[in-house]
Each structure stands twice: as structure tokens, then as C-alpha cells.
């Protein structure tokens, strides 16, 4: 096998590993964050002939829905670029390694974009650099061909005859080969956006979209609350809590870890939850107008996407806006990978029973309160709006009140919690969940707390544990430990309690 072929075979295998295996979630997200609609209107929307590269990129991006297929497409295009460069410059032997540089740069560009996946500057952003490079190489190849034919034909044949015999050529090629590949692999891994939270978020978002609640939760506990493991982002916490709610385990909110942090970005990009996931978050808690609004706003600002189209369909179905849902479904029905999704929703509209039997419906309907329509706004802060909205709810709907209670604890709104708990106790005479006991016990010690909180029937184990928590906290404080060190010391024993969350989660930042 020639080095030329060995290079591209190795690169193909490496690129497939980097794309389909390590970044399959990114490729899938890129496909969801893009749109392709066959027909003249989309062609004109993209810009007609002037936008033909973007149009082609959008066409190809839809195949990233199946990451292995998308990876293969990239590999085919990058192989063409490689061979184009090899041919253009008539590269031979170890020099062919240089032809791998453009594909390697394109690979790095693709896997290094990180949170920019939510902020595309143009449609079909994943394939545009590759297509532009391919066009450039094609032009180069054509130029070289003409130059060779009409200018250098004679000289080239003469100079080839005059080439001196190679000495140690084989060894040199092997050294070059090894060094080049080491550099290529090293640089690619360096540029790979391998932030664990980023990938967790992408996988959780897909699982939420597909109502795979256990998979959402499975992505979350993988991040143990230990010092050497990065804290989850706020988005992961939100997704985790949505999954807990939808699986009837919302009172595990703090036992599963509820301390979110800001996402890690490598450049100056400011990430906002509104662009990342506001439509899905609002939708999952039954605020369809706000979900629709953000799907629309993000589509306007960053281009219409399959993800936003699907969200607008969902909201329109819930809102009973049949014609609007059909409008968006008409677009989705033309797509390669969303036509079945669209067909299922059309079925829902024609048969409400099928809709009501779907896990998506069953998950969300308990969160639909009987609250009256009001005017409100979120100032672009989706998480804050949801926390404020549900913590201020005074509901006696059994399906909703646990969520409202837990959200009050999430925001540390002790007054809201106390009022909601008094309503809850009215029709839950039995055992108080541990979480509520922990919170009530904590609040009962506060100045001005209602007396009835002290009269609640607390488990002895909870009371004793709280006393131990207080005693250990005082002891650590008396030893002069900082808050941060105290939090770390107490986390293994009390990290699953509301007390630990209340006292030591002090850097709750909304973004």
C-alpha cells in the first residue's frame, strides 16, 4: 500500500473515531440545529445561487442526524480534498502527509466549536468550511492542470529526469510519518471540545426530546459531587429535575445534587440558557407560549431549525392551533429524518386518544395548572422565570404542588415553601417526605417562622441528623474553616440534604 493511501485510510479511521464516537452527540445536535426543506422557497430563502454553498451544506447537515452517516460524509469530502491537494501539487511519498493538513484543520474546526453550536452565524454551518475548501481545491486542481498542460509540460518531464537518486528516503518517510501523525493526533485532541458537561448537556437534551427520562437521569449522577469532578451546569440540573418530576421523583431533587454552575467556554462566548434550551424547558413545564416564543425568537436570530420547528408544532398542538401545527408539519414532512415524527403528530391531531396516551402528554399534563392567563416576561432569563413562576404558585392540584414546593426550596424561598406546605398538609395527613421534613425543620428554627412548623410530626432520624449537621457545622466553623472547606468536609455526609444545599450552595448564578 502506498503512503498516499495509508494516510487517508488512517485519517478516515481517526476522523470517524473523533466524529462518530467522541462527538456523535455534537453531530446530532448540529443536525437538529439546522434545516433543509426541498423546493424553491428554501433555496430562495438561503439566497438563491449566491447561497448555493449554504444550501448544499444544509442538505448535507441533515445526514448528521445519524452521526455515523454524517461522519462518513465528512470523510468522503475530506478524502476528496486530500486527493485534490495531492494531485494539485503532485505530492509523493512523505510529502503527501501535507495534504492531510486541510482535512485535519476542518476536523478541528468541527469538533472545537463547543457552545457555538447554539449560535450559528449561518445555515449549514457544519459543512460550509468543508465545501468552500473543496471548491478551492477543485479550482486549484484545475489551475494546476492547465499550468502543467500549457506551461510546464516540457520542463516537468526534464526536471523529473534530473532528480537525484534518493538516499535513506524510506527511513526519512517513516520518521516524517510518525512525527506528523503524532502532531495531528495531538493537535486534534487539543482542539476537541471535550468538556464533560457540554457533552452531558447535549445527550440530556436529546433524551428529554425523546422522553427518555431514565437516560436523562443516567447522564446526571455520573457527575458525583466530589471535588475532582466538575459540577453540573444549571442546564443539567434543570433537565435532571424535569426528569425527576416526570418520573414522580421530584422530592429527590436535592438528594441527587442540585448545585449547578456556569458552563465552561474556551472563548469570549456568553452562553444563555434561553438560546440553549429555553423552548424545551418551558415546554416540559407546560408553559407553551413561552416555549413557542423562544423557539420563534431563536429561529429568527439564528435561523430556523428542525428542533425549533418541532417545538413550534408541539406548542401549537397543545394550544389547539391546528392550522399552525399543520403549517410546520408540512415542512417537517418533507425532511428525510423527521417525517415519521411529523406523521406521528398528524396522527395525534386526528386522534386525541393517541396524543393522550403518549409519554410526552402524560409527563406534561400534571404540570398544567389551573392558573389564569396573565401577562409576564422573562427578561431572557428562562431559569429564573420558571423558578419564580412555580415558587409563587399556590395550588392544591396534587400533581403540581410537589413541583411547586420543590421549586420553592430550589430558590430558597422559605416563605413560599411554608405557605405551600400548609396547603399541602391540608390534604396529605400522612407521612411527610424527608425533603419537606428537612426543609420544615430548618425553617422552623428561623426567626419569625410559623409555630405550626414546630408541631409537625418529624421523624426522629431526621431530627437527629439535623442536630448532627448543626453540631458538625459549628465544630468546623470553630476550627476556623472557610465556608468552602466546610462545604467540602460536610458534603460526603450531608450533601444529599436540603440543609447542605441551603447553607453551602452560595454561588447560584442564572445565565
Amino acid at each position: 500500500m502506498k503512503l498516499r493511501e495509508l494516510n487517508i485510510l488512517l485519517f478516515a479511521a481517526f476522523a470517524f473515531f473523533m466524529l462518530a464516537i467522541r462527538n456523535g452527540d455534537v453531530l446530532y445536535t448540529l443536525s437538529e440545529q439546522s434545516l433543509f426543506v426541498p423546493g424553491r422557497m428554501f433555496w430562495e430563502e438561503i439566497g438563491g445561487l449566491g447561497g448555493s454553498v449554504e444550501w448544499t451544506a444544509c442538505f448535507l447537515t441533515q445526514f448528521l442526524h445519524l452521526p455515523w452517516l454524517g461522519a462518513m460524509l465528512f470523510i468522503v469530502l475530506w478524502s476528496a480534498i486530500y486527493y485534490g491537494v495531492v494531485r494539485s501539487f503532485s505530492l509523493r511519498g512523505a510529502w503527501t502527509l501535507l495534504a492531510l493538513c486541510p482535512p485535519a484543520v476542518l476536523l478541528c474546526l468541527l469538533i472545537s466549536q463547543g457552545y457555538h453550536v447554539y449560535y450559528p452565524e449561518r445555515q449549514g454551518t457544519a459543512f460550509v468550511p468543508t465545501l468552500l475548501t473543496l471548491i478551492s481545491v477543485a479550482v486549484l486542481l484545475l489551475l494546476c492542470f492547465f499550468v502543467r498542460i500549457f506551461v510546464l509540460k516540457k520542463k516537468a518531464s526534464q526536471s523529473r529526469e534530473q532528480l537525484p537518486p534518493k538516499k535513506h528516503g524510506q527511513a526519512c518517510a517513516v520518521v516524517c510519518f510518525v512525527l506528523f501523525w503524532a502532531a495531528l493526533v495531538g493537535v486534534t485532541f487539543h482542539y476537541d471540545y471535550d468538556d464533560a458537561n457540554y457533552h452531558h448537556e447535549l445527550r440530556m437534551a436529546r433524551a428529554v426530546d425523546e422522553c427518555r427520562w431514565d437516560d436523562v437521569l443516567a447522564e446526571f449522577p455520573a457527575l458525583r459531587q466530589e471535588d475532582d469532578v466538575p459540577r453540573p451546569t444549571n442546564l443539567m440540573v434543570v433537565f435532571k429535575n424535569i426528569a425527576l418530576q416526570h418520573t414522580g421523583r421530584i422530592t429527590d431533587m436535592f438528594a441527587t445534587g442540585n448545585c449547578g454552575t456556569l458552563p465552561t467556554v474556551r472563548d469570549s462566548l456568553t452562553v444563555h440558557l434561553s438560546q440553549q434550551a429555553a423552548p424545551m424547558i418551558y415546554y416540559q413545564v407546560g408553559l407553551f407560549n413561552f416555549a413557542y416564543r423562544w423557539a420563534m425568537e431563536n429561529s429568527v436570530r439564528y435561523g430556523l431549525t428542525f428542533a425549533n420547528l418541532k417545538m413550534m408544532v408541539r406548542c401549537a398542538i397543545w394550544n389547539g392551533e391546528r392550522e399552525l401545527a399543520e403549517k410546520y408539519l408540512n415542512l417537517l414532512r418533507t425532511s428525510l429524518f423527521h417525517r415519521e415524527w411529523a406523521a406521528e403528530r398528524i396522527g395525534w391531531m386526528n386522534d386525541a386518544g393517541r396524543f393522550q396516551a403518549h409519554p410526552e402528554y402524560q409527563a406534561i399534563v400534571p404540570l398544567l395548572g389551573d392558573d389564569a392567563n396573565v401577562l409576564d416576561f422573562d427578561n431572557g432569563l428562562c431559569e429564573k422565570f420558571i423558578l419564580d413562576h412555580f415558587s409563587s404558585l399556590r395550588t392544591e392540584r396534587p400533581s403540581l404542588e410537589d413541583f411547586a414546593l420543590c421549586v420553592s426550596l430550589w430558590t430558597e424561598s422559605v416563605a413560599d415553601f411554608a405557605q405551600q406546605l400548609s396547603l399541602w398538609l391540608g390534604h396529605h395527613p400522612g407521612h411527610l417526605p424527608i425533603l419537606y421534613q428537612e426543609a420544615a425543620l430548618l425553617i422552623s428554627q428561623m426567626e419569625g417562622a410559623p409555630d405550626w412548623l414546630l408541631q409537625l410530626n418529624y421523624d426522629n432520624a431526621v431530627k437527629e441528623r439535623y442536630q448532627r449537621f448543626l453540631a458538625e457545622s459549628y465544630a468546623l466553623r470553630n476550627r476556623g474553616l472557610s465556608e468552602h472547606d466546610m462545604a467540602a468536609q460536610l458534603r460526603p455526609t450531608y450533601g444529599d440534604t436540603y440543609w447542605w444545599y441551603y447553607y453551602f450552595y452560595t454561588d447560584f448564578n442564572i445565565y
Partner: protein, 503 residues
């Protein structure tokens, strides 16, 4: 060589020519009317309108439609679409001028052809203005990106961009464009606004574009909703402090509200603005001149704010109490002075809110949009078009039932001959605004069934994800080129001077 050219020419003709479908020899008859999109059954159209291409709005593999007007008869059918040749359509409309085009629709379902109940397209002899313009915008809320103001030739399907923000947008700097407006249906004097990046108001005066900054320290904002005086170089604007808030449950989704608004008059020659109405307890909006230029109509609502604290919150909490009435002020065209306002129509007395007044060119009819509350009726499902006959003693407002639907109708405007009324309607899907045009009878003050602005491809509206905002009639296309607009946009705006109004 010659043979190749001939073959190619024949192929091109075959590809480009209209498909004249063939009426089936055998079919079953149906007593129901066909379901078409757009719905052109029994509509009245102007004689100079472009073809009414349509598609089937029901199951069926093929459609054939036969159009008959006098001796002229054509059939069309291309799959589920009926695409009409422009020249043949002109023949049909000329033959049917003042009468009807008969339409028979045949649909094939599972190999069986059905002939639906025939219907007519009524062809009025009254021509329509050859152009309309609109802003194409995604029906978003706060965000905007690529926007364009476009002009459409109604006699063909040609559409041009008047101005687009595409060439001035940067990743960090956006430009919103809005409120295109013309003096007396002409385009030699026109305007539109640009907000944020390179903001200002683009005034075209005698065909020359000039960028103006209408904001002064003494006015609430720059000019917002405009109304050109029909003869004089004057433009009345509202100035508005506008915000948006969102419905948590209602499918109306958003309320666009003012917390304050006034009226100003811009004198183009003197480059001055002065207050027309400047009140703290009233919110004036949507000025509109009578065709003779001697009366200014506008809408006004009593402010619901009861204390100076938390004005926004009070406006939000009491949004359903904000009701606009229609007022009129006499205008002295020599001295440029206004009389005291008089209440013309109290919608609030009925618990309703009237906005967007427009006058028929003969000055007899006032049309406006009315809904339960607020000023931004494009988002109000119950918004309908109402009409007042200004020659009647009662000045009673009647709904124009034939042009209204169960969904939002707003932004009415008359054609220059007063025989066509265009509205921005959301009847298709409750979210995307489309221009609907109806024939208007100036004697009875009634409308025919409206037709949706025809498009070359009948499924255009199915896939179009933009609203047609502020549809306005024009008697001529805009003469200023995009490049000339762009050059003017990049200039520093000419600052206007505030002229204090003497008591």
C-alpha cells in the same frame, strides 16, 4: 447544428409552457364546492389582477379546472395545482370584465373523477392599483434578523425589494425597519424607519432619499406611526414608549403596549417637529389624514396608570382596560394649526378598542380595526374591520362582515380609487399575516368576499414563514433604488428641530 437548436427550442417550449389539463370524459357529479387553497370560490377580483393559481385543499391526485368567460375557455391542471398562463388569464378577465368567469373543477381520487359544483370568479371593471408594498417579517416578538420592505406588482407576480437590512446588519449590530408610508399613494414622497444600527427615518422627498433623526429632547421618542398629509409637505407621527409582555396561556401570545404616547407634526420644509397632542393622561396613536387634508383622525386611550410608580406594572396588570377611541381634529392648512379634538367614535363605551383608522379616498368612509382592548390588533384574535359612514348622522360603526373572519383582521387600507379594501389577516393559521383584498361598494359601504394576494405557486403561503406587515397600495413603484437607499442609510441623519407649540 440547426437540428440541435430546433430540438432544444422545442424542449424549452415544452418545459416552459402551461399544462392545459384535459377535462375527463367520465366523471361523477358532486353538489359541494371544491376546497381550494387559496380559496378563490366566489371572490370578486379586479380586471387587471394576475392569475389566480390554486391548489387542492383536499385529498386527490389530480385536478383539472375549466375557466369560461364568454367565448373564451381554457383548462388547466398540473398534478394537484392549477397554474394559469398569464396571457390567457388576461383574455379571460377581459372577456369577463363586469361579469363572471365560470370555473368547473374536476378532481381525480383513486382513479375516479369528480366534478364539483361550478362556481364563479366575479371580475369587477374597477381596476386595482398596480402595486402594493409590505414588510416581510417573521412573526417574532423581540428578536429580528433579516427584514425587507418589498413591492409587489399586482398585475404580475413580480416582487422587488425596496429596502432590506441585510447589507447593514453585522453579527453584533442589528437594524429593524418598519412603518413604510406614502404620500397619497405615490412614491415620490415616502418614508420608512430604521431602528438601532444606523437608525433614523428615511424620508424620500421629491424622489430624493434623506435620512432624518426625528427624536428631540422634548418628544417621547422618534416618530413612530406615520401619516403623510395628502397634499402638504407634512407628516403626522405618533411618538410612543412601547413595550412587549407575553401571555402565559392565551394563544394571542403577546401584548404590545404603550406606557405613553403623543402626536407630533413634522414639517419637511422647515425641518421642525412640534406637538400635536402632548398629554400625560391620554395615549394618542395612529394618526390618519382625511383625503382633503383638513382633518386629522387618530386614536387615543386613557392611561390606566394611577400613580407615577411602577408604570409598566400597572399597564401590564390593567392591559384589558386599555381601550382606544377615535378622535378627529380640524386642521388649518394655511396656518398649520389644529382645533381641539372631538370624539368621533367611542369604542370604549362598548367595552372595545378601535385602532388604525383609514379614510376612503372620497372621504366618506372611515374604516378601522376593533378588538376587545389594546392597540396592536394584529395579535388579537377578535380584531375585526369596522366601518363608519361619515355622511350619516349616527356615525354608527358597522362590522365589515364579509371581509372579517374569526381571526385577526387589522391594518385596513383603501386603493386609490376607493374600490378595493386590503386588510392584514391571520385567518390562514392564526399567526402569519397575509394580505386579503376585497371589492368595496362605495354606495352601500359593503365588501365582497376577499381573496388572498395571489402567488405564482399556490403552495407559497404553506411554506412562507413570514408575515406580510402593513400592506399598502401604491400607484407606482418606488423609484429610489436599493443602492441609493443604502447610501442614504449610511449618512449621518439630519437632526430635526423642536418647535414649541404656542398655546
Amino acid at each position: 447544428m440547426n437540428r440541435t437548436v430546433i430540438v432544444l427550442a422545442v424542449l424549452m417550449v415544452l418545459v416552459s409552457c402551461t399544462r392545459h389539463g384535459e377535462v375527463p370524459a367520465q366523471f361523477e357529479r358532486s353538489e359541494s364546492l371544491p376546497s381550494l387553497f387559496p380559496d378563490y370560490v366566489d371572490v370578486t377580483i379586479p380586471v387587471n389582477l394576475c392569475p389566480l393559481n390554486f391548489t387542492l385543499n383536499e385529498a386527490g391526485q389530480q385536478v383539472v379546472a375549466r375557466f369560461t368567460a364568454g367565448d373564451v375557455c381554457y383548462t388547466y391542471g398540473e398534478g394537484r395545482n392549477v397554474l394559469i398562463d398569464a396571457d390567457e388569464w388576461a383574455e379571460l378577465t377581459q372577456a369577463a370584465c363586469g361579469g363572471d368567469i365560470g370555473v368547473e373543477v374536476f378532481v381525480e381520487k383513486a382513479g375516479v373523477w369528480t366534478a364539483y359544483k361550478p362556481f364563479s370568479i366575479h371580475v369587477a371593471a374597477d381596476p386595482i392599483d398596480p402595486y402594493i408594498s409590505y414588510r416581510l417579517i417573521q412573526p417574532s416578538y423581540v428578536a429580528y434578523h433579516e427584514l425587507s420592505i418589498r413591492q409587489r406588482n399586482l398585475t404580475t407576480f413580480d416582487e422587488d425589494v425596496i429596502y432590506t437590512n441585510r447589507d447593514v446588519m453585522t453579527p453584533t449590530q442589528g437594524q429593524c425597519i418598519n412603518c413604510h408610508s406614502y404620500q397619497n399613494y405615490g412614491t415620490q414622497n415616502m418614508l420608512f424607519h430604521m431602528r438601532q444600527h444606523l437608525g433614523g427615518t428615511m424620508m424620500v422627498v421629491d424622489g430624493r432619499p434623506v435620512k432624518v433623526d426625528l427624536k428631540t429632547d422634548s418628544t417621547l421618542s422618534a416618530g413612530v406611526y406615520p401619516a403623510w398629509h395628502p397634499q402638504l409637505p407634512l407628516v403626522a407621527f405618533s411618538t410612543n414608549l412601547t413595550g412587549q409582555v407575553f401571555h402565559t396561556r392565551s394563544t394571542e401570545k403577546v401584548e404590545v403596549q404603550d406606557t405613553g404616547s403623543d402626536l407630533i407634526l413634522y414639517d419637511i420644509v422647515k425641518n421642525t417637529v412640534e406637538h400635536i397632542r402632548h398629554t400625560s393622561d391620554e395615549m394618542e396613536i395612529f394618526p390618519c389624514w382625511a383625503p382633503d387634508g383638513r382633518t386629522l383622525y387618530y386614536c387615543s386611550a386613557r392611561s390606566v396608570v394611577t400613580s407615577p410608580d411602577s408604570i409598566d406594572e400597572q399597564t401590564i396588570d390593567r392591559y384589558e382596560q386599555i381601550k382606544y377611541d377615535i378622535f378627529a381634529m380640524d386642521f388649518d392648512t394655511a396656518g398649520h394649526t389644529f382645533s381641539q379634538p372631538r370624539l368621533l367614535y367611542s369604542a370604549s363605551a362598548k367595552g372595545r378598542s378601535a385602532t388604525l383608522p383609514r379614510l376612503s379616498p372620497d372621504g366618506r368612509y372611515l374604516v378601522f380595526a376593533e378588538a376587545d382592548h389594546g392597540c396592536f390588533h394584529v395579535w388579537h384574535h377578535d380584531a375585526d374591520i369596522f366601518l363608519i359612514d361619515l355622511q350619516s348622522d349616527s356615525l354608527c360603526a358597522q362590522p365589515l362582515t364579509d371581509i372579517n373572519s374569526e381571526r385577526s383582521e387589522s391594518y385596513p387600507s383603501f386603493s386609490s380609487n376607493g374600490r378595493w379594501l386590503m386588510v392584514a389577516s391571520r385567518r390562514d393559521d392564526n399567526n402569519y399575516t397575509r394580505p386579503y383584498i376585497a371589492h368595496f361598494d362605495p354606495v352601500s359601504g359593503t365588501c365582497s368576499k376577499p381573496f388572498e394576494l395571489p402567488q405564482l405557486h399556490p403552495s407559497f403561503y404553506t411554506f412562507c414563514l413570514r408575515s406580510f406587515n402593513r400592506p399598502e397600495f401604491m400607484t407606482e413603484p418606488v423609484g429610489v433604488t436599493q443602492e441609493e437607499f443604502l447610501n442614504a442609510v449610511k449618512q449621518h441623519p439630519q437632526k430635526v428641530n423642536f418647535k414649541p407649540t404656542h398655546p
